[in-house]
């Protein structure tokens, strides 16, 4: 396990932000931490990246204790915080070269690395402009590039694509995909469930400082309900007749029916309707989205 926490607790004044958090992240995997505003996602990342001291419990990153071996932890991680941590009065290139120099690269090697990253994140044209003149998305991409100057074993990304346009978001996702292929472990937080669905091997839902769900995207979706069949008829009356034949919930000309998603179940339903001489216009299956999961879980736990 590259990240292990046990009973991690953090208080701000009388407010308990992390309430005995237990987390495990396997090396080489992608973990997405989900949760409503104020759930403690950023706090978790700050504790794991040695920026904030926990009040209780323990956390180990790559086997190093985040409090007692903070310097060792810093040697293996990289962080892209929720707010861009870039120097406004330096150019994009200067920012990157500076970070490379801090990672003890020689000057030519630092320059080469900077050019490579500028290219990759589509910042070549803006490379020699001060960051002050960058758009929010450009700043965000530079911030991410700065975290990738040295190849970390574990990369923390706190809402990496918030505020990015669809193209930049895809660029970022591709970059994250490349890192995963290189064996970098990714620990990210996000507000976009689509992002978690697409990138993460495992999703942890945080609420009020504790874990309320933990599993693959599919497992989470199944936990809030299986597949639903949506059958559409010619009219509302037809839908109501169908309801008396096969059950379900009618909504206008559409009938929603719980299902296990199997072909056999669909067959049975269609046979029953045929026997009742009810003509089905369209059939759609509907899987719960992570949005459904999110809403259900955080509403129940509230």
């Amino acid at each position: 396990m590259i990240v292990e926490t046990e009973g991690l607790t953090k208080r701000y004044g009388t407010r308990t932000v992390l309430n005995g958090l237990d987390l495990e992240v396997a090396e080489g995997s992608v973990l997405a931490l989900l949760g409503p505003n104020g759930a403690g996602k950023t706090t978790t990342i700050r504790v794991l990246s040695t920026l904030t001291r926990p009040d209780g419990g323990s956390a180990r990153v790559c086997g190093f204790d985040v409090v007692r071996q903070a310097a060792d932890v810093r040697g293996v991680i990289s962080l892209t915080g929720q707010y861009a941590a870039v120097d406004e009065e330096q150019t994009g290139r200067e920012n990157l070269v500076m970070i490379a120099r801090l990672h003890r690269r020689t000057r030519p090697a630092a320059r080469a690395r900077a050019s490579e990253l500028l290219e990759r994140f589509g910042l070549v044209d803006a490379a020699d402009r001060r960051v002050r003149t960058y758009s929010g998305g450009m700043r965000r991409r530079l911030d991410l590039a700065m975290s990738l100057v040295a190849r970390p074993r574990l990369l923390f990304l706190d809402e990496p694509t918030t505020g990015l346009d669809p193209v930049s978001r895809t660029t970022t996702w591709d970059a994250i995909g490349d890192l995963v292929r290189d064996g970098v472990t990714i620990f990210l937080t996000t507000q976009y469930l689509e992002e978690a669905d697409r990138l993460a091997d495992r999703i942890v839902v945080l609420h009020n400082g504790g874990v309320v769900a933990d599993g693959t995207a599919d497992a989470l979706k199944n936990s809030v309900g299986g597949t639903r069949l949506d059958l559409t008829f010619a009219s509302r009356e037809e839908a109501l007749r169908a309801r008396s034949a096969v059950g379900g919930l009618a909504d206008g000309p559409t009938l929603g029916l719980p299902s296990d998603g199997s072909a056999a179940h669909l067959h049975r339903v269609l046979d029953d309707l045929l026997a009742a001489r009810i003509h089905v216009l369209r059939v759609a299956t509907h899987r719960p989205t992570l949005d459904d999961v999110f809403t259900t879980l955080t509403a129940v736990a509230a």
Partner: protein, 247 residues
């Protein structure tokens, strides 16, 4: 150490680009010089050559004030979160502050150079030997380092860049209660007591004695005050930086 060098490069680049600060660092001392020599110089006639008398005071006033400007970029770093990136990297926190302190020393060296240059044009005739100049600059260096580290500490705890600049106001007024511009003998007794015993007076007296070829009588307290403050401020600022970083 290489991290500190990189951070020094960063801070110098940042201060070169912050035009307001750069201009203030050089123009303010020069204006002060002109003000004292031409406006007050005629009225303050208790000393023969007022330019020779006032230059060390101006230099100490301006370097002291200039050093406190270290607080602003430090506070800015703390506020902007760029410091979080540095803290999550395998470099010592000490190097981040060192960058700002060294940039401050560089700014002040430039300001001192400008003041002395303008002073020479205004009729300043120092009679000091090269050795005395070196000693005076050495003492000023310790003084500027001490105030810069103090300011760096203030920058770490300041809630905003504006409140970080408050230390500067204090340092701008403190030298008036010293022998910087008028001999303390001209002050009322209670003020004289304050002026004679505050830390800046021995620094000014020593620099003045060195530059005007007079016997140095307050070298020991000057060095003790500056060196002591340097040790305390350095320890305080680096401790604060580590403590705040583990908030």
């Amino acid at each position: 150490m290489s991290a500190a060098t990189t951070m020094v490069g960063r801070s110098i680049r940042l201060s070169r680009r912050n035009l307001d600060t750069a201009i203030m660092a050089v123009v303010l001392p020069v204006l002060m010089m002109a003000l004292f020599v031409y406006v007050f110089g005629g009225a303050i006639s208790s000393v023969q050559s007022y330019v020779d008398y006032v230059v060390p005071g101006i230099v100490v006033l301006c370097t002291g004030y200039g050093a406190t400007s270290t607080a602003m970029p430090v506070a800015d770093d703390m506020k902007k979160g760029v410091v979080d990136r540095f803290r999550s990297m395998p470099i010592s926190g000490f190097s981040v502050l060192t960058g700002h302190v060294v940039a401050s020393v560089a700014r002040n060296a430039l300001a001192t150079f400008a003041v002395v240059l303008v002073a020479l044009l205004m009729g300043f005739r120092p009679t000091a030997s090269v050795g005395a100049w070196a000693l005076a600059m050495g003492l000023l260096l310790v003084y500027v380092l001490a105030l810069s580290w103090l300011a760096a500490g203030f920058g770490v705890i300041a809630r905003s860049v504006e409140s970080a600049s408050l230390l500067g106001f204090f340092m701008l007024f403190l030298p008036y209660l010293s022998s910087a511009f008028v001999p303390v003998a001209t002050m009322p007794p209670w003020l004289r007591a304050v002026s004679e015993h505050q830390p800046i007076t021995p620094v000014i007296e020593t620099v003045r004695a060195l530059l005007t070829d007079q016997p140095v009588t307050s070298g020991r307290p000057a060095l003790a005050w500056s060196g002591g403050l340097l040790v305390v401020a350095f320890t305080w600022a680096t401790w604060l930086f580590r403590r705040i970083s583990s908030r």
